[in-house]
């Protein structure tokens, strides 16, 4: 999946799941769009579907700390993708 395809997918999730329409890629989602910790947990479930794997608890906690913008979300998912392929497993550890 290219970065552009991934971003399109993320925007779709934001529109359909969180009723947030087209946030700018570097908008602080929490401060500017009211995206809270409950939303972040639900987003991680959606990201697991994109990745086709389950993320372990530490990976999720790390994501909760560092992901604040759409750009960061895309970067995070791309970072996890190759490791998932390399590990060839259903669970990704960070």
């Amino acid at each position: 999946m290219t970065r552009e395809e991934l971003q399109t997918e993320i925007y779709k999730i934001f529109r359909e799941q969180f009723e947030i329409d087209n946030p700018a890629p570097d908008d602080d989602l929490k401060d500017m769009h009211g995206f809270d910790s409950i939303d972040a947990i639900e987003l991680l479930i959606e990201l697991e579907k994109i990745l086709g794997v389950s993320l372990d608890q530490e990976t999720k906690k790390d994501a909760m700390l560092h992901i604040r913008t759409v750009n960061q979300i895309c970067g995070y998912v791309q970072e996890l993708m190759p490791r998932k392929d390399a590990a060839n497993t259903d669970v990704v550890h960070r």
Partner: protein, 412 residues
């Protein structure tokens, strides 16, 4: 510190309507909110009772997703009645968030439809299915979900009480809210209860042989409180809320005062968790009157709990007779909509306030032939134009919990 506590706003969603006009029309014309049980994919095929007090009219919600995401159906009802109540109240936003306004609101067991989805995941072959339990499922389904979704949506920062005592849930909400204001802990309280459509509750009462089954083909003929041909209760859904305020505060801000709470009691039978208990009910009636500082002769209307079970109605009739004699008029308001469980106490209080305002007393619906064992009290069998000065709203719950609220017409 003893302060007067007045009622200044109200709102309800009931099987006979969600506006004062519609509810009054049904009370005056004998309109029933009891309908056929809806089919579901869990229990409806196995339940003998095929009737339910349903909210069948459309309700518009305009809640933003940030609120919706932690709400099950029961909280939609709860937040909607509180939204209506606050709109009518004229309370300003500063007061609402001042910490001087609290919430007493509950439900029988949170949101059973959300809980059902959680439990489903436990019975699948793949244990990883439990991961599908959403992050917000607990917030949607927990016992105090109504109260805290209300505080979130309306930015209320005062005390929170979330009673969950089945049929006395919302009468306790009003009673404990009354005491909060009376004794100076809060200046105002939003009090009420809600329960969503749920066949689990029907199954419970059905298994206890307490549900109506003889009128499945004619739902409007049941429940029949105090009637010789009654055959059990009908479960219902709904919500209600009243706003209680300290009298001087309400008067100074020019609030529309619609009634006054002057007494409350709550006790327990101290024994069996299901069987009605004459002495427990007698005591709660007495304690309520003592709390109001009035004698039984001052009460001119009793809103009976009267679920239309075989023994419950007899015991309640005996208790009313022994305390009041046949002086106060008695109506069983559940006859119009079934037993709305956690919301019955507040809905029956609101209906009593409406009748108080309009100067009439609705008859007990379907009361055609009074059971001789219930006959000693002054049943209302026809629409009666008479003022209500002081009313007692009685509710009793599984677990042996009894309440008695004393509500008076407002006079300065």
């Amino acid at each position: 510190m003893d302060r007067r506590v007045v009622i200044t706003s109200e709102a309800a969603i009931t099987p006979i309507g969600d506006s004062k006009e519609t509810i009054l029309e049904n009370l005056q014309n004998g309109g029933s909110g009891v309908n056929p049980l809806r089919e579901d994919d869990l229990l409806s095929d196995y339940i003998h009772s095929r009737v339910y007090g349903t909210v069948d009219y459309p309700i518009t919600y305009d809640f933003a997703r940030k609120y919706r995401k932690t709400m099950g159906p029961v909280s939609y009802y709860a937040c909607r009645v509180v939204q209506d109540l606050l709109k009518k109240s004229g309370l300003d936003a500063d007061f609402i968030s001042s910490g001087k306004l609290g919430v007493a609101f509950g439900s029988t067991h949170g949101s059973p439809s959300v809980q059902r989805n959680i439990y489903r995941t436990f019975f699948r072959d793949d244990p990883s299915e439990t991961r599908k339990i959403g992050a917000v499922d607990y917030l949607k389904s927990m016992v105090h979900t109504t109260a805290v979704n209300i505080t979130k949506m309306f930015h209320i920062t005062g005390r929170v009480i979330s009673s969950s005592t089945a049929c006395t849930t919302s009468s306790q909400s009003i009673g404990y809210g009354y005491e909060m204001v009376k004794y100076g802990m809060q200046d105002a309280m939003i009090c009420g209860g809600a329960d969503e459509y749920d066949t689990t509750t029907v199954a419970v009462f059905d298994n206890l042989l307490a549900c109506s089954t003889a009128y499945n083909d004619r739902p409007y003929l049941t429940p029949r409180p105090f009637d010789a041909d009654r055959d059990g209760l009908v479960v219902g859904e709904g919500a209600g809320a009243v706003l209680l305020e300290e009298y001087e505060f309400a008067r100074n801000r020019g609030a529309n005062i619609i009634g006054e709470v002057i007494g409350f009691s709550c006790n327990n039978n101290g024994g069996d968790l299901i069987l009605p208990n004459l002495e427990g009910i007698r005591q709660t009636i007495r304690i309520g009157l003592d709390s109001a500082g009035i004698g039984p002769e001052a009460v001119d209307f009793v809103s009976a709990h009267a679920t239309a079970t075989k023994m419950g109605d007899v015991i309640e009739s005996q208790a009313i007779d022994q305390i009041y004699g046949n002086s106060p008029r008695v109506t069983a308001l559940k006859s119009y909509m079934g037993h709305t469980m956690a919301s019955c106490g507040v809905i029956e209080t609101i209906l009593t306030l409406y009748m108080m305002e309009k100067g009439f007393i609705a008859p007990t619906l379907n009361l055609e032939s009074i059971d001789p064992r219930c006959a000693a009290i002054n049943h209302v069998q026809q629409l009666t134009h008479a003022p209500i000065q002081t009313a007692a709203v009685q509710n009793f719950a599984f677990g042996g919990v009894n309440t008695n609220l004393i509500v008076k017409a407002y006079s300065p």
